[in-house]
Every structure is written in C-alpha cells, then in structure tokens.
C-alpha cells in the first residue's frame, strides 16, 4: 500500500469516526440545520438566514416541545445544536437533548463544589467532544455521544476566587476559555487548551501579574474575559471584551487608565499575542465590563467598505472600530450615561473624576448592571441596525478608605432602571426605534432574514417584533428569558429554541397534516 493510499485510508477512518461530530472547519460556514457555537457562527451577529417564519405568519407560531431541566436556575445559556442534538447548560449541568422531540439523551452533573453558581453561557463542541466550564473553574470534556467524562482540567484555582461560566470558543485546534472573579484581586486570564488533550497552549493576561513582562495595568487586577469572543478567519484574529478592574470601586489605589481592563482586544488565536486593544472605559470605577459581544460585520462606513467591529458596551456607549487596526470610528451613547467628560481623540469616553465613587455618594448612570450586559445583541444586515437590550438606570456609588483595596472595595446601590430594546444605526449610532420592555433588563436578541426580531421583556414575555420598526407581532409568556433564542431548520421546518425560566422551549409553525403534505 502506498503512503498516499495509507493516508487516504487514515483520513477516511477519521471522517467515519467523526461523521456525527463537528469538524471545526464547519464553523466557518454554519449549516442551517445547526447552531454550532455560542453565537451560532464566528461573527456574533446572531442573525439567521432562515425565512420560513415571517412577519406574516409568526402569529401562528406554536409550541413544538418543552424540555424541563427540573432546576430552579434560569437558563441563561445559548444552546448549541449539531447533528440533531441540542446541548444546553446551567451551572454544573449539561443536557443533550433530541432537537426533534425535546427528549433527554443524556445529562452530565458536575460534582458538588464551592464555586460561584451565578449563571452559565453554554457549551462548545469539537469533533465528538463537548465542553463545559464550571463554577469551580474547571474545563470538562465530555463524549458528545453519551456525556461520559473524557478529561477534566483546572482552568484556574477556584480557591483564589476564580469561577467560569463561559462557553468556550473553538478556533481550529484551539479551545479558548475565560474565567470570572470580581471579589478578589485576580489577573484577567484567558487560556487556550488543546481540544483533544486539555493541555494549555497559551495564556493571555489582560492585566499581567506584577513581575510579568508588560505589567501595564497601573496596579489594577481584573479585566476578566467571561463572554465568548468572535473570530475573523481572514485576519486570523479573535476578538474578546475584558471586564472591570479590581479593586472594583476603589479608583485611587490604581491610578491611570488600567489597560487592558474594560477593553476590546484582538488576539492571535495561535499564540495568544495581542494585536491591538481599545479601551471602552479607561480607569473604570463602576463595574462596567466591556465584555459584551464584539459583533463583526463587513459593511460600508462613510461610503467605504470596511471590516468593522460593533460593541454596545456596559458603560452605556456604542462603539464602532475598524477591526483590522483597532482604530475607533464612532463613539456614541445608546443608554443613559452621565459619567464621561468628553470623548478623547482616540474615541474613548474620558471619565469625570467627580463621578468616581465617594464617601457621600455619587448619582451615576448607568447603574452597576450597566447600559447592557451579557445578553447578546443581534445585527440585522438589511436595516443596518444593532438591536440590543438596553437599560437607562441610575445608581449611587460609594467609596471611602475604610472600604479597603480588596475585591469590591466600595458599595453601590441601584436606584431606578427602565429597560428598552433599542435598534442602533451602525453608521451613526442613532436610534431607529426603541421598544419598551419594562422596568429592568430584557433578553438577548435574534434576528432573521425574513425581518423578524426575537427577544424577551423584563416580565417574562417572549416577543417577536418586526425588525424594521419594532412593532410587536407575537408574544408568549414563557417566563424569564435569558439569552436570545437560537433558530435552525430540521426536516424542512424552522424551529426557534429559547430558555424561559428553567425550561427550554421550541417553537415552530404548525405542522401540515400528513395528507396535505403527501398530496403536494
């Protein structure tokens, strides 16, 4: 047998073994019968090309199935779907569910642990491995067929205060995983693991620990990368947002801008080296992560075709960057914000020192929850709008020396908030429309090519709106919606799957009676 025949045979056997898994190359062009990553694809647009459900027929949308997790925990995750199997998570749990019926195939439960059980963003899949990050900051690789543990490695030491909620990002043979940890002064840490073995390939620090080369953060720790990034295969750059600095509310102890906290970063996925960074909130003292999804679009800006990055950031500002260079093109508020003095020449809002937390309190917008938060926005290409769950909120922020310089190091209290779904014109930052969603945060967003926007309000209604003007076309009171719905087509039928409270719901148009189908 010749060498090439051997290697052909080898390739064929690999293909056979992984016929039911996910070839990472598929992520470059996600098939309509899948939602193979947290964002559905690498762009983070959460926009589907599917058009079976339309503004005209959406009022017929009906329940296909409901999957009961039996958990009190709200599903905040985006499910993923590959080969007819949905994988959905809550802290410590992953379920594999038949996407046609909503029936459980297997469930993995992580051993009881001391980590923070705040929420979970979702799973990732590579070949026949599926991955879960855990409250005790571990990365667990499961066999996608039966949920058996393949390996289980530490991402970071949970005893130091790290935890992880993140849906890992798969780029070729890299599994990129971030952590959280706001209550301790911990370096912002992102790691790439070998998806087959769990070995660490590289570690990137947004706030390099003292003594590390390039310790540039001015005494700040933090800057955790806790939301799944996006990826441009042409530039071979991964984009991630970083969280707030620690100590959180104590600004004086960490003078300067504190890079790269509250920033949008471009990293090489093969090496973890920084290509460029843009700081959305220099010297943050209000817990305003810039971890929100960096949405990638290829579209004209001022008449010129460009590779753009859009972010509606927790600090209340909307940013447009050139994602090749990191150069800022637009900075404009999309939610109530009273904390910046001006926008500097690089497009960064400059914090007003008078709005830093103080002994007698400062009235600041946004509040701690921010102008937006983990809930993914959606970009609709036809209307050129980024549609985002926004909050106009006010909080009072306190800091005095007695609060110290560890962890939170201050106190803040929400005063008032009002939620809107807002459609932001990506070229001007102006609002095309807004839709009132109640007194708090809504949900993540999905748009489809038929001109529909799916999201949730703050009282537990799932909404279908007309993307062009925000008019409500359909709703269902399913309970608190966390992240936005996902959508896919199976057996010729478009499904929309979304968490409401602790239940995963699947909606579709009514099935045609069989006789009607066969007579066609």
């Amino acid at each position: 047998m010749t060498r090439s025949a051997l290697s052909l045979l080898f390739c064929a056997s690999i293909a056979a073994v992984h016929a039911q898994g996910l070839d990472p190359a598929m992520l470059l062009k996600a098939a309509p019968d899948s939602w193979p990553t947290y964002h559905g694809d690498y762009t983070g647009q959460r926009h589907s090309k599917l058009t079976q459900i339309t503004p005209d027929n959406v009022r017929q949308l009906t329940l296909s199935w409901a999957f009961q997790t039996g958990q009190a925990a709200q599903i905040k995750a985006s499910p993923i779907l590959v080969n007819g199997i949905i994988y959905v998570t809550t802290p410590d749990n992953m379920w594999a569910i038949d996407a046609r019926s909503g029936r459980q195939i297997w469930r993995y439960t992580h051993p009881k642990n001391e980590g923070f059980h705040i929420g979970h963003r979702g799973a990732a899949i590579y070949k026949d491995f599926v991955y879960l990050t855990t409250p005790d900051a571990r990365l667990v690789a499961l066999d996608a067929r039966d949920g058996k543990v393949r390996w289980n490695v530490e991402i970071e030491d949970a005893r130091r205060g790290f935890w992880s909620t993140m849906a890992p990002l798969v780029v070729r043979n890299h599994l990129i995983v971030g952590v959280s940890g706001d209550f301790d002064n911990l370096p912002g840490t992102l790691k790439s693991f070998d998806p087959e073995t769990g070995k660490v390939q590289w570690t990137f620090y947004s706030t390099p620990p003292p003594g590390t080369a390039g310790a540039i953060s001015g005494g700040a720790t933090g800057g955790q990368m806790w939301i799944t990034g996006t990826y441009d295969p042409e530039l071979n750059l991964v984009y991630v947002g970083t969280g707030n600095p620690t100590p959180v509310l104590n600004g004086p102890v960490r003078p300067g801008d504190n890079p790269w906290t509250c920033s949008i970063l471009a990293l090489n996925p093969d090496t973890g080296t920084l290509a460029w960074g843009f700081q959305a909130s220099p010297h943050d003292t209000h817990d305003w992560d810039a971890a929100e999804v960096p949405v990638l679009i290829d579209a004209p800006f001022n008449g010129q075709p460009r590779k753009l990055l859009l972010q509606a950031s927790r600090n209340g500002y909307f940013f447009v960057l050139d994602r090749t260079t990191g150069k800022n093109l637009l900075t404009t508020p999309f939610a109530a914000a009273n904390w910046a003095q001006e926008i500097d020449k690089d497009g960064r809002p400059v914090p007003d020192p008078a709005k830093e937390p103080a002994r007698d309190g400062r009235l600041v917008a946004p509040n701690e929850g921010g102008g937006t938060n983990y809930r993914s926005p959606s970009f609709d290409p036809k209307t050129g709008t980024l549609i985002v769950s926004a909050v106009d909120g006010y909080g009072i922020y306190f800091f005095k020396e007695e609060h110290g310089d560890y962890g939170w190091a201050g106190a803040d209290y929400g005063v008032y908030s009002k939620g809107f779904l807002r459609a932001i014109d990506y070229q001007t930052g102006k609002l095309r429309w807004q839709h009132d969603i109640g007194s708090g945060s809504g949900a993540g967003v999905l748009t489809t090519d038929s001109g529909l926007t799916f999201t949730g309000d703050s009282t537990g209604n799932l909404l279908a709106l007309r993307t062009s003007d925000g008019t409500t076309l359909w709703h269902s009171a399913i309970g608190g919606v966390g992240n936005g719905p996902i959508t896919y087509e199976l057996d010729g039928r478009q499904f929309m799957v979304v968490g409401g409270g602790g239940v995963l719901y699947s909606f579709a148009l009514p099935e045609q009676p069989r006789s009607t189908q066969s007579s066609r």
Binding site: A72, E368, I396, H403, S439, G470
Partner: protein, 283 residues
C-alpha cells in the same frame, strides 16, 4: 410603541411575593445597609465546623448576590444588617425564605438538604455576630458619611428647581421623615421610593372598558399585554391591554424624571434639608 413602564412595588420585609409577576434578575432596589446591625433575638452560637460548612455553601449558592461574607453584593442585601436574620432563631425565619425564594425580588428558591440549610443558618448568624463586634472597614455607608449637603440650598431646590413641593410638604407628609428614615435609606427613598419603609405610594390605574365603564384601583401589574388592578374589595382584576384604555397616575414618575437633572450637590443638599425634618408639626 409600545408600553409604559412596569411599576413593581415590593415591601422589603414582605415574606410573600407581591401580586406583580416574578421579575427575574432584577436587583433589589433597596439595601438595609443604612441601618445599623439590628439587635439579635437569640444569643445562640454555632459550632465552628458547621459555620465552615455554611461558609462554603454560602459562597457557592448565595455569594454572588449577597457577597461571599454575607455583607451584600450587587443584587442582594447585606444579611448582617438584616432584621429578618436578627429575629431568626435556628432558621425559623431564614429557612423558609431560602426554600421559597423571593421571586418578586429576583431571589430563586433553593432546594437544599436540612444539613445544608442548618449550616447556612449557622454561617449567616456567625457573620452577623462578627458584624456586631466589627463595624469598621466594612462595605457600608454610615449616616455620618452623608452629612456634606447644605440644608438651606436643599430647601431652595425642594421648593424651586426640584419641584418637590408640588407633591410633598415639610409640615405634612415629610414632617418627621428624618425621624423615620436615616442615612442611606433616606437617600435611596428620596431618589426613588421603591417601597422600603414608610408608606407605600402606589400608582393608580384607571381602566376604561369598551362599554365606557371606568374602573380605578391600585396598579397591581402591567406589561405590554396585560393590565391588572387591585379593586376596592381587594380583588385583582386583569384585562388585555388591547381591549381597554389605560391611564396611569404614578406619583413616582416625578422622582424618575428628576434623576437626570440632579447634580450630586443638589442631591446632598436636598438630603441635608430632609435631615432637618424631624418633628411632626400638628396644625
């Protein structure tokens, strides 16, 4: 488009859910941090081992909202200053809250074993005992921190630019406000009275049916699709918003409208003025 704000009123100490729908993930709008640690009803102490187990359990299940040390977090109140904790004896008040949650304030129910619940109770009490003996250095706002305003300027804002005098009177509803509310709690309620302490000031809704009949009552619930009021006899009645005409009279809208207008100096001045109102003036 679409709908006006959903107004939810909750009483911090109310053990049951408000009639409004559960509002997941909404941060509690008020914190008891302005209060000093309440006097504890029981002098019970707990075994160190149980406290340690409770600390672990608390960090994992409760820490994100209430802080790992139970002194409050981004969405949950400081339990070391909680009256409910102070009045609790071996879990008789804490355990029911943990089991059923407070869905109206975003707290989910927890399904824990009796041993875990007992450990949680032990840890929370232990933290409250420590808090009594350790007031300094904590994440708290003391009344003495909030004394930077000018009462005279605050009075001028109250009667003038702030428009407060349109609804409030220093010799009427606010005559003894500084005796009733102090420190952070007074500041929070001044900015937006979301229901802690003092009298509730609920919004009223008038629902006009297709027949022309108008029904007025306390606003119990509103979202884009449903309006509900509590009628004079205490029954909650609801309608589809598409079927009726709704008018809301919410006196708190004036507080919300003031938030973008306040300077920090205005805020501290009005607080200073309110702090002078200690005596009910009988006409």
């Amino acid at each position: 488009m679409l709908t006006s704000i959903v107004v939810l009123f909750t009483l911090a100490q109310a053990p049951t859910a408000s009639p409004a729908a559960p509002a997941p993930q909404r941060p509690s709008q008020a914190s008891p941090a302005a209060q000093s640690t309440p006097k504890r009803a029981s002098n019970e102490t707990y075994p160190a081992e149980q406290v340690r187990a409770g600390a672990t359990m608390f960090a994992a299940q409760c820490g994100f909202c209430h802080g790992r040390d139970a002194t409050g977090g981004q969405t949950g109140p400081d339990l070391t200053r909680s009256t409910l904790v102070a009045e609790d004896a071996r879990g008789d008040k804490i355990i029911p809250v943990v089991r059923t949650g407070r869905p109206d304030k975003g707290m989910p129910p927890f399904n824990l074993s009796d041993a875990d619940l007992a450990a949680l109770v032990a840890f929370i009490h232990d933290q409250q005992i420590k808090a009594e003996s350790q007031q300094g250095g904590r994440r708290a706002v003391d009344e003495s921190d909030l004394q930077t305003g000018d009462a005279r300027a605050g009075q001028a804002f109250f009667n003038g630019a702030g428009g407060c005098a349109r609804c409030h009177s220093p010799s009427g509803d606010l005559a003894d406000v500084a005796a009733r509310l102090k420190g952070l709690e007074l500041l929070q309620r001044m900015l937006y009275p979301s229901g802690r302490g003092g009298a509730r000031t609920p919004a009223k809704a008038t629902v006009t049916l297709a027949s022309g009949q108008a029904i007025t009552g306390r606003l119990a619930y509103r979202d884009e699709f449903l309006i509900a009021i509590k009628d004079a006899e205490g029954w909650q009645r609801s309608w589809r918003t598409s079927d009726v005409k709704v008018t809301i009279d919410d006196p708190l809208e004036a507080h919300a409208a003031l938030l973008p207008k306040y300077t920090d100096t205005d805020m501290h001045n009005v607080l200073a003025y309110l702090q002078t109102l200690r005596q009910a003036v009988k006409p």
